[in-house]
């Protein structure tokens, strides 16, 4: 049990995917202008990441490894993730129009999110079991959402702040992201 908790804490804070591993930076920059959209993106990513890390573990363990086809990992995982995202979109569209409206365009956007593929590949690299993979994926997604929401809240305040003209727009965003990343480095002492 402690082991699982350790994996969770470590992926959320210490080895945060966005700020420490620098994966999934494109949604971090582009979807963080508004708090609501950031939450929607976080929700969608959490769902897809957890599911995809489990599914890619299953595909790897019961299909690729027994047949000695480990070299197909990347392409097989991309296939799994793409199908999963598409399937989720279809089901959500039918069962919950409200959730579909919130998630909307973010779901397809996740297909090309490098953090999703990164989690699947890192799971194999670190030789995680089934439950460990699920927790690793879930932790990574929670970390991603946490950072995204924090960053969006900051950017909402930055939008009305009196920023010097040369720093307005992208520069101050990147500086903020850099400072946040440095702040998260502090967690490595945990």
């Amino acid at each position: 049990m402690t082991e699982y908790l350790l994996i969770f804490i470590s992926t959320v804070l210490v080895n945060n995917f966005v700020l420490v591993k620098f994966l999934g930076l494109c949604p971090f920059m582009s979807v963080s202008t508004k708090l609501e959209t950031a939450m929607g993106m976080g929700l969608a990513t959490t769902f897809v990441l957890t599911l995809s890390s489990v599914c890619s573990y299953l595909v790897n363990e019961y299909l690729l490894v027994p047949l000695g086809l480990e070299f197909l990992r990347t392409i097989a995982f991309i296939l799994v993730i793409a199908v999963l995202v598409q399937f989720t979109e279809i089901v959500v569209h039918k069962t919950s129009p409200l959730l579909y409206q919130i998630l909307g365009i973010f779901l397809p956007l996740i297909t090309t999110n490098c953090a999703v593929l990164g989690v699947a590949l890192l799971n194999i690299q670190e030789k995680h079991g089934f439950i460990e993979s699920a927790i690793y994926g879930f932790g990574a997604a929670i970390g991603f959402s946490l950072v995204l929401v924090l960053f969006a809240a900051m950017r909402e305040r930055l939008a009305v702040a009196d920023v010097p003209l040369v720093f307005k727009g992208a520069p101050i965003t990147l500086i903020t992201a850099g400072i946040m990343s440095m702040a998260f480095m502090g967690f490595s002492g945990l």
Partner: protein, 188 residues
């Protein structure tokens, strides 16, 4: 090599079948015609057609309750576009649903405004800004010119002014349809 191709192909096939099944099983029954009609309507939400907004009117047309000539802000061009879309006979705009006129903009005479918020409640697109006992004003970019705020005003301080046609305010006439030679949108 052959195993690799077979595995990847098999995986793709299974996933394809899964998605295909999901596509049929979880099909969303929308009414694409309503969306198409809604896209042709001017989205003023003025209610002159007798429906609370543009989308209900579009649904009314599809159900056969409403005729295509009830939208006066859309004008003749809009009616012709609807007739073309639904393959119906064009008919003149019905006079009981208002007359076609140029795009207008509500303007509040701010000296006379008493801050009663009645016009705010009437505005279908939330284009009026104000608070009780404070002066109200119209957000010009949001105003659709539906005239719904004029009637509730107790001091008659709202008037509709036509938008002067300048380079910055000119846009393609509603709805965005290709003009045909005999019904060019420019000649009305």
């Amino acid at each position: 090599m052959i195993v690799a191709i077979a595995v990847l192909g098999g995986l793709a096939l299974i996933f394809g079948l899964l998605l295909g099944y999901a596509g049929v099983r979880f099909k969303v029954e929308g009414d694409p015609v309503v969306d198409q009609i809604d896209a042709l309507l001017p989205q003023q939400q003025c209610g002159k057609c007798g429906y609370p907004g543009c989308r209900p009117y579009a649904e009314g047309i599809v159900k056969g309750e409403a005729d295509i000539n009830q939208c006066s802000p859309g004008g003749k061009v809009g009616m012709l576009a609807l007739a073309a879309l639904l393959d119906r006979e064009p008919k003149p705009l019905s006079s009981e649903h208002g007359v076609e006129q140029a795009q207008m903009l509500a303007e509040i005479d701010e000296l006379n405004c008493i801050g009663c918020t009645l016009c705010i409640q009437a505005c279908p697109v939330d284009a009026i800004l104000g608070a009780p006992k404070h002066m109200h004003t119209v957000i010009a970019q949001e105003c659709t010119g539906c005239e719904l705020c004029v009637a509730p005003c107790p001091v008659d301080c709202i008037k509709m002014v036509p938008i002067p046609e300048a380079v910055k305010t000119w846009k393609w006439p509603y709805p965005g349809v290709q003009s045909t030679p005999e019904y060019s949108p420019c000649d009305n």
